[in-house]
Symmetry: C2
DNA sequence: ATCTTTTATTTCATTGATGAAATGTTTTCT
DNA sequence: AGAAAACATTTCATCAATGAAATAAAAGAT
């Protein structure tokens, strides 16, 4: 619960000191990656705190939002796993919970009967519509003082970073580039 | 384990569709906050994967790095809790594990004997020095294609975002502004 | 000198995530 | 038709994080 800014200051100093001992360290990049991690997890905490009153955690919320945002309000467990970065076991558990609360339904797929079709229910839609608007002021406040250009830049840079991260995880770790 | 870029594309479309139903939604800001969340957690996954071979998770690593980066190589449980965003219970557990591996030591504080002084050991320093350098290529690769100006901008924007997040969590949630 | 606060640990119960393996159904391949 | 692959669930075991409450030691306040 400590101040993010304070943590960042201390990270800056820490990296400064470490890089005097290990000068090959890419200092600017190390700082940036710590920044992304810190801001990301702080934002996640903030979001989780606001979801808790609705008895949802981030995974539940994401699952529900994906369904809500679909033109036909449905998806499959496999697809939901992919987009929520959850394992199949977890998704089954999440879906069980949401079904129990009447926010989604499960039924057999029509085209491919191996798949399960997960639909958001009217109650699920109502919940989303009720809980989203109160979040808007905070979302806007997060970017207070950002010009339109700032937002464009941040978006561009984060997307570029995402692209690089994709490259990284495709090619495995240090050992050797495949082929 | 899905492609980040693919997830981002689908998020873009999803927010586009949601905002036609709920037009008051701050679309650009919602996209940005999702971006930060997604990139942050992807980076975290990547990091955890590289720590695993050393039997460390993110919290362990952070704790160790804070100690390593301190001029005198020590801190207290309370301070470590603050900077790692961990509860006291967790920090005790983390410290126990690191002590057991001989990476840190605990001893009573001198000035204030309520505090426990946690020191990084020589073995702890060796571990850090062994594991950091192999990370550098990936850290650099993450920011491939970033100009110096790009890095400065990203740093500035993330810090501004951090500042706004601090404001947000100080003033509580929707109900009413205190005073 | 006593009362209160701070600091850390211990204990306990709970929750969420995680991963492996076995199962069952359906589709696809040949 | 029969073998193989895909999809989802179930079961099971485990681990990390979490939070509350009790405990203990030391410092600070009045």
């Amino acid at each position: 619960m400590a101040n993010l800014t304070k943590c960042i200051d201390m990270m800056d100093e820490g990296i400064g000191r470490v890089s005097t001992v290990i000068p090959q360290m890419p200092k600017a990049e190390a700082r940036l990656s710590r920044l992304v991690l810190m801001v990301g997890s702080s934002l996640e905490q903030e979001l989780e705190a606001r979801l808790k009153p609705h008895q949802l955690n981030h995974s539940d919320f994401l699952t529900l939002m994906i369904l809500y945002s679909r033109p036909d309000g449905h998806s499959t467990p496999g697809e939901l796993c992919e987009f929520t970065s959850q394992g199949a076991t977890n998704m089954t558990r999440i879906a069980n919970a949401l079904v129990k609360r009447g926010l989604i339904t499960r039924r057999a797929g029509e085209a491919d009967r191996r798949c399960v079709l997960i639909h958001i229910t009217a109650a699920g839609r109502r919940l989303v519509q009720k809980m989203l608007p109160p979040l808007f002021p905070s979302i806007s406040a997060m970017f207070a003082g950002f010009s339109e250009a700032d937002k464009r830049h941040l978006s561009r840079l984060l997307r570029k970073l995402a692209h690089n991260l994709d490259q990284l995880s495709e090619a495995p770790h240090p050992p050797r580039t495949p082929r």
